[in-house]
């Protein structure tokens, strides 16, 4: 049996084929002293199959808090004693947020709501918001509104939603430890409807929630099977008052192995740094991840927490000679 990195080089870099479950497990088990070699390979895979450009996105919470679901990592669930209060954003503030995002060079602006799925009030607010953004700002609009019906998928597409985010959150085998108010299969169904509609599918998850390495690998191959356009990779930021509030922060070397493993499982997918990277990886790790398979970032703040400043991230991309993908190339 040859070394996993040697086999990955042949299969993924040369052949363009993603690693299998067993192979991803092997990558996640690599010792720390092989991490630089692993990241280098993942970077080569990204450069070969995706190119040097970085896709930049900003996100905004349209409806914060008061969610009926019990996602154990989330401070916006109404079932926990989190200090996050329910609040709605109005349309002028939404447009202002889109303008701030576009000013960073971002091509994607994602409107997010903490809900099980959208009701008519939310769909109406999203419709009005998208119209106002499209009249004022040159940016793709994405949305993340929970589980959808086919009719809602069609409505969002007709509103001009470019990409829809709905994460699997965790591997199928670990999901019942993370969410009990809906099923992993319900999430999968929404993802399939979105993909089949022609909207781009953004689907990822969180790591560092207490899952095993095998379950981390399981998530990677389940995402690969779903074939999303983009995979946002979140690292648990333990939020006060949530069931995962006392989880330890994920080890940074485990986080780097995960980034590279996801890249090797999905060589052509947009792999985005999402929440928690500041806490898990810090400045040095952020740089290593960008040189280890990541080819997209969320800049600025998240939904309820603050991120690195957009200016710092953009300066880092310039230093790494990673050009920001232009809007024309994303359409």
């Amino acid at each position: 049996m040859t070394d996993i990195l040697e086999r990955a080089r042949t299969k993924v870099l040369d052949g363009g084929e993603g690693l299998s479950y067993d192979e991803v497990v092997e990558v996640l088990q690599l010792p720390d002293d092989q991490i630089p070699e692993l990241l280098q390979l993942a970077h080569e895979v990204r450069m070969t199959h995706c190119g040097p450009e970085i896709e930049v996105e900003g996100i905004i919470s349209l409806k914060t808090g008061g969610c009926p679901e019990d996602c154990h990592f989330c401070s916006q669930s109404g079932q926990f004693t989190s200090p996050v209060r329910s609040v709605w954003l109005d349309i002028p503030q939404l447009v202002k947020a889109a303008e701030e995002t576009a000013a960073t060079g971002a091509t994607e602006f994602c409107i997010v709501a903490a809900v099980r799925g959208p009701d008519e009030r939310l769909m109406s607010q999203v419709r009005d918001g998208i119209k106002a953004i499209q009249e004022a700002v040159d940016i793709n609009v994405a949305a993340s509104l929970g589980m959808l019906s086919q009719e809602q998928v069609d409505d969002l597409k007709s509103m001009g939603v470019h990409r829809y985010n709905h994460n699997l959150e965790a591997a199928k085998s670990y999901f019942p430890n993370v969410v009990t108010t809906h099923s992993w299969e319900e999430r999968w169904e929404t993802c399939e409807m979105v993909r089949e509609s022609g909207m781009e599918l953004c689907c990822g998850g969180l790591v560092g929630m207490g899952e095993t390495l095998e379950q981390r690998a399981e998530l990677a191959v389940q995402l690969a099977e779903l074939e999303p356009h983009e995979v946002p990779l979140n690292f648990l930021n333990p939020r006060p008052g949530t069931p995962f509030g006392d989880q330890p922060i994920m080890d940074s070397n485990d986080a780097l192995r995960t980034i590279a493993a996801f890249r090797l499982a999905m060589p052509r997918t947009v792999l985005r740094y999402a929440g928690g990277r500041e806490l898990t990886l810090g400045d040095l790790g952020t740089r290593e991840g960008l040189l280890g398979g990541i080819n997209a970032v969320i800049v600025g703040n998240y939904l309820t927490t603050l991120g690195r400043s957009a200016d710092e991230d953009l300066a880092l991309l310039t230093e790494l000679k990673m050009p920001i993908k232009e809007l024309a190339k994303t359409l």
Binding site: G58, I59, I60, S61, T64, P83, V84, R85, S86, V87, L89, Q93, K96, A97, E100, T101, T104, P240, E278, L279, V299, G300, N301, Y302, L303, T304, T305, L306, S309, A310
Partner: protein
């Protein structure tokens, strides 16, 4: 005065961990009355509203 992160009185406990966390998240409690605030995070900032003491932001 109260801690924006945990809502406890500033002189009642050690808030050094809270202070570190407030570098990466907005305050959730009003510093004057400890009421939970309505907080909106924006791409480049945040605002927080206390029903009694008004709006603050970065």
């Amino acid at each position: 005065m109260f801690c924006g992160h945990c809502g406890q009185a500033l002189d009642a406990a050690d808030h050094r961990i809270c202070e570190r966390r407030l570098l990466m998240e907005p305050p959730r409690f009003c510093a004057q009355c400890a009421r939970r605030m309505k907080v909106q995070v924006h791409p480049r900032g945040w605002s927080a509203e206390c029903v009694e003491h008004g709006v603050i932001g970065d």
